[in-house]
């Protein structure tokens, strides 16, 4: 680990939807440059937990610090925090009325007041990085799912974030397109990006993760290195889950 400073602190976080505790008293610290993969059955609260980090879900209790900023503090400008935290969604959520390139330039130009030319140059560089530069002037509907997701990753990167959140980035993809998206994510990991990934791709977890976290019923059941996690899981629930999906 190049740097051991914690960049995200999640302290005793609970998120309720009515009676349901989607996230139940979870505490986690994530260090700069760390790659954390969160796995668990559906409904285990892993996506909700991820979404609390940039406050797409407001937590019911607890505290979350992102890069030193308390995101629930009234004095914190949440939009500033979000500029540092890129997010990639299961359904891509590209802006359909903008071309791929415009999807990338919109936020930097409007929010960071970066000159259009410079933003476009940077956008093209990022599109090249996700291997889709030739589609710069194409609208999202004309792209395949895998291509859309790669553009979506590039869009998040265009804001030059310190942290990237991935919410089941390959779950909505046809199987033959999963690889191209995972490859982009692996490259990103190699470059030292801090990444939190909610996924069902165990191969990716094994290969890329510094730490794997298993959640069930809103709580962290087990965490550890992929080595420990896949070879010697300690909890029965983890064992059961792994036996079902591997």
């Amino acid at each position: 680990m190049e740097n051991s400073e914690p960049i995200i602190r999640i302290e005793n976080v609970t998120k309720r939807f009515g009676h349901l505790k989607a996230v139940d008293n979870v505490s986690l610290t994530i260090k700069t440059g760390e790659k954390v993969v969160i796995i668990g059955p559906s409904g285990s609260g892993k996506s909700t937990l991820l979404r609390t980090i940039n406050r797409l879900e407001e937590i019911t209790s607890g505290r979350i610090l992102v890069d030193g900023m308390d995101i629930m503090d009234r004095a914190t400008d949440i939009n500033r925090v979000r500029m540092e935290v890129g997010m990639v969604f299961q359904n891509f959520n590209l802006f359909p009325h903008k071309t791929a390139l415009q999807n990338l330039t919109m936020a930097p130009v409007k929010l960071k007041k970066i000159p259009r030319q410079e933003a476009e140059k940077n956008a093209l560089r990022l599109l090249k990085k996700v291997n889709i530069a030739e589609k710069a002037d194409v609208y999202p509907t004309q792209l395949s799912g895998g291509q859309q997701q790669r553009v979506a990753i590039a869009r998040a990167l265009a804001m030059n974030p310190k942290i990237m959140l991935f919410d089941e980035p390959t779950s909505a993809l046809d199987p033959e397109m999963i690889g191209e998206v995972l490859d982009v994510m692996k490259t990103l990991a190699l470059e030292g990006m801090t990444m939190i990934v909610v996924t069902h791709e165990m191969g990716f977890a094994r290969e890329v993760a510094d730490r794997v976290i298993f959640m069930d019923h809103g709580a962290v059941v087990e965490e550890g290195t992929p080595e420990h996690f896949f070879k010697n899981p300690t909890h029965d629930r983890t064992k059961l889950f792994l036996s079902q999906i591997l």
Binding site: N54, L56, N79, R80, R82, M83, V85, G86, M87, F89, N91, F92, N93, L94, F95, P96, H97, M106, A107, K110, L111, Y139, P140, T141, Q148, A152, R155, A156, M159
Partner: protein, 261 residues
């Protein structure tokens, strides 16, 4: 990303010709050609009242269009504000917008016209035309507000989340991401409202505004040719409405053709 095409049905407006009945004998063609043929036949066969009537009316047509255009412009602005108010998390804004819609929809347009005309008249002296435009837009703004609300709510929540996660605030998200997309859902019903509004402008003839209908009434009062005058008036309204509905349906096709998103 698949986005279902959502059609907002606001009823009331003129029937916009659908692709299906575009044959040679479509209702639109029959009405349009019939109206033109009848108009020409009447003018040629009995120029005495009919040609005179037709010559007397253009001023009124212009006024009708003026009232329509200014009203629709103002109604769009009121509609946008009302629509945003309706979806606002601010309780007060929400209550104001909802109450406005509720009140306006519960009062007949003709009564509103009288009311706003005379209510305005108590405080300020404004030209009749201005009073008419204000009354029409206040009324139609309420309907437009519902169209805007529905259009905005038709956009996938993921769009808002994506924009917010990039750091856009609520207002920026609305204007950069949501409204540009909602526009295509909003436009067809707005076209419908536009046509409905044009027809309803005939009501302002009550308020000393010299629109098409009022010009007709003036002519009829002098010549006693009531039947002939109102025949022509009806034909002209019909032609204008049919032309506009055609325009709206062409516009709709364009929208569907270009950004298929």
């Amino acid at each position: 990303m698949t986005q279902e095409k959502i059609i907002i049905d606001v009823g009331d407006g003129a029937a916009i010709p659908s692709k299906k009945d575009m044959g040679l004998f479509s209702a639109w063609r029959i009405s349009f050609c019939g109206a033109i043929v009848l108009l020409i036949y009447l003018v040629i066969s009995r120029p005495d009242p009919y040609l005179k009537i037709v010559k007397f009316l253009p001023d009124g047509i212009i006024v009708t269009f003026q009232v329509t255009f200014f009203s629709i412009g103002l109604a769009l602005i009121i509609g946008l504000i009302t629509g945003l108010g309706r979806i606002s998390r601010n309780r007060i804004a929400n209550a104001i917008a909802s109450t406005y819609i509720e009140v306006i929809r519960g009062i007949p347009l003709l009564v509103q016209l009288f009311y706003i005309y005379y209510a305005l008249g108590r405080f300020v002296r404004v030209p009749d035309m201005v009073a008419a435009v204000i009354a029409m837009s206040v009324c139609y703004g309420a309907y437009m507000g519902e169209v805007f609300r529905a259009g905005i709510e038709s956009i996938d929540k993921g769009q808002t989340e994506a924009a917010r996660s990039l750091g856009f605030n609520r207002t920026q998200t609305m204007f950069y991401v949501i409204l540009p997309q909602a526009w295509r859902t909003i436009l067809p019903p707005v076209g419908n409202e536009f046509i409905a509004l044009l027809k309803d402008t005939s009501l302002v003839s009550i308020l000393a505004v010299a629109d098409l209908l009022r010009r007709g009434r003036e002519f009829a009062a002098e010549s006693f040719a009531y039947f002939e005058t109102y025949t022509i008036i009806a034909l002209i309204y019909l032609l204008i409405t049919l032309l506009l509905s055609k325009l709206v349906s062409i516009m709709e096709d364009r929208l569907n053709y270009y950004g298929k998103f």
